[in-house]
């Protein structure tokens, strides 16, 4: 009888130990993505980047910049959202890759940087801020409650906390411009954003 209770006890202990390990793994150990929420006009950390969104606008067409001949405005079946932002890094020159840079709608849909305007992020250096425009195409019903997600997606030193920035854009679905001219990337002076 005592032997049977021993077996039952050991089995229960194994289950409890498994659950406890899972809980500790998911909640207590410091790795996996953590978000920092920023705002327009503020610096937001997404190590090794620091991001600063200065403006976000919606439009029906965009005018692609920096071509030899300016093409006619580019339309979309959704709505264009142009985000003017600058960023710098904390360690070495890096470019913001396209994949972790999306607009997320309130219902979870994700819209990547459009591949139809030529700009998908640029190089910035340690404390060297570079500003430019990123153009996204989004569904018309997603305009309200859009958030810019800036996720460097870099595993720097193995299992460590990785940070990504979320910046709510506060766009007004009623204020959609006819056309936005995309501006060229610009290296900023000290203290500028």
């Amino acid at each position: 009888m005592r032997r049977r209770w021993m077996i039952v006890g050991l089995a229960a202990l194994a289950v409890v130990l498994g659950i406890a390990t899972n809980v500790a793994d998911a909640r207590l150990l410091p790795y996996g993505p953590t978000s920092s929420t920023g705002a327009i006009g503020e610096d937001a950390g997404a190590y090794p980047f620091t991001v600063h969104v200065s403006q976000a606008q919606a439009a029906h067409t965009v005018l692609v910049c920096c071509r030899f001949e300016t093409p006619p405005p580019t339309g979309t079946d959704g709505v264009w959202v142009v985000v003017t932002l600058s960023y710098a890094t904390a360690d070495r020159p890096r470019g913001a890759s396209g994949t972790g840079l999306v607009l997320r709608s309130a219902d979870g849909r994700e819209f990547p940087v459009s591949n139809r305007t030529g700009s998908g992020g640029w190089l910035a250096g340690p404390d060297i801020w570079v500003r430019g425009d990123l153009a996204f195409e989004v569904a018309p019903d997603a305009l309200e409650g859009l958030t810019l997600v800036f996720d460097p997606g870099i595993q720097l030193y193995g299992p460590m906390p990785t940070q990504y920035a979320r910046i709510p854009l506060d766009l007004d679905p009623g204020a959609v411009l006819d056309v936005i001219e995309l501006s060229e990337e610009q290296i900023l002076g000290a203290g500028e954003r």
Binding site: R3, T74, T76, D77, G78, E110, N115, R116, V138, A139
Partner: protein, 218 residues
């Protein structure tokens, strides 16, 4: 043998100790017999449907509306020139609307998509894959390779072909119900065909004007 050891005999004795236990066990053993008597598990036959051009087809991750096809060498001339063995483009005009939460690449370089596969004599398509090589928007001729969530877009899917005359006047094409899933092994999104197939007979049309590219004078 030690007293209290767990053996096959003790387990059997435990399972068959009372009448309720015996009934449950007997019922479990009868399940295959009952299923067999009712006709057994059917094999899941993929269903096939015929659709008319211009009709919405829900493939799962996206709705595709096949419209028409064209054959032309007057668009994307440079790409056509550098593609070995290509004589012209086969273009299929479709309207796509992505119903997932993430963008879907219509021309990804991974395993073949069966979202829309033109049926042509063997060897006519330059590549063996059924996935289109290029996709451009019918509206303005700009890149259309990404289907965004909730944005309905009309694009021309382009396949390079070896012989423009081998394409019949009515192009049969098949569309397969699919999943667009993230493969943790390949670390990328990929298509997985599920089974149901739609057949469509596409009428021939002209090259959409926005896609026309004049010949360059050198």
């Amino acid at each position: 043998m030690e007293a209290g050891a767990i053996t096959v005999r003790t387990v059997l004795a435990l399972l068959l100790a009372t009448w309720p236990r015996r009934l449950v066990l007997g019922g479990l053993l009868l399940v295959p017999v009952v299923v067999g008597a009712l006709g057994g598990f059917g094999t899941a036959e993929p269903r096939t449907f015929d659709v008319a051009p211009g009709q919405d087809v829900d493939l799962g991750p996206m709705v595709v509306r096949p419209i028409a096809f064209f054959v032309s060498d007057e668009t994307q001339r440079t790409t056509l020139e550098i593609t070995d063995g290509a004589e012209a483009w086969l273009g299929v005009v479709v309207e796509v609307e992505n119903h997932t939460e993430e963008a879907i690449t219509l021309t990804f370089p991974g395993p073949a998509s069966d979202a829309l596969a033109p049926q042509l004599p063997a060897g006519t398509l330059v590549t063996g894959a059924s996935v289109a090589k290029e996709a451009y928007r019918v509206d303005d001729g700009t890149m259309g390779s990404v289907a965004l969530p909730g944005v309905r877009t009309q694009v021309a899917l382009l396949w390079p072909i070896t012989d423009a005359d081998a394409v019949p006047d009515v192009l049969p094409a098949s569309m397969t119900e699919s999943l667009w899933t993230f493969g943790p092994m390949s670390n990328e999104h990929q298509w997985m065909s599920l089974g149901d197939v739609w057949h469509v007979e596409l009428p021939r049309t002209e090259l959409p004007p926005a896609l026309f590219e004049p010949e360059e004078d050198l």
